[in-house]
Amino acid sequence: MGRVCTAKRNVIIVRLCGDLDHHVTEQIRNEIDETVANEKINNIAFDFKNVNFMDSSGIGLIMGRYKKIKPMGGEIFVCNLNCQMQRIFGLFGLNGITKRNSKIDMIVNEEER
């Protein structure tokens, strides 16, 4: 994965693609944390449109960002989850810490990269 973060309005959009595993999460985490610090935006929207696979490393990435931005008043949004991702989100309790919001969906889906 190349650079994945773009700041738009009051949200940092993280466009994930391919397989979200341990091999890629560290780089993504660093980029998100840098972008949060530089842009001074606490809301993060993960776009799962192009994600084919996620294991518990992806859960660690999302939970870690949640713990970081929640105390600063931020939220985690998720968009474009396919069936497989919805299944994982349900099984492992990610629905409790992530939000789905039609306005955020619109911002994320407004234009392609």
Partner: protein, 141 residues
Amino acid sequence: MDRIKIEFDAVSRNESFARVCVAAFATRLDPTLDEINDIKTAVSEAVTNAVIHGYNEQGGIIELTAAIEEDELTIVISDKGRGIDDIEKAMEPMFTTGSDKERSGMGFTFMEVFMDELSVESQPGQGTTVTMKKRIGKTEE
């Protein structure tokens, strides 16, 4: 019985290699897409654990065998790394020794949920072997 065995370096790049390899082997059982995803996830978890916890990201060798017998797939993944002190505790949901690396502690839980059987053998200082089994096609009547 149909069997494959591979050995590869314990580096994160090989996590996807290992799961794709087992998934390709498992196609002989004509699995559904969900079943393939389950298998890939379980393999990914076990291999990632060997890379991160077993060898502390310093590298080593991971051995993987997969076997098909009738409708059952057996996967064995082993490392000769650090080993696990308390296996029962390690398998509890959310338990992790890698919180500094933002591990979720859900790896063994994933393996348990996505496979039919999971067993873990480990000796501190000697290494860890994870054995997983899954019957393919059992949900389709």
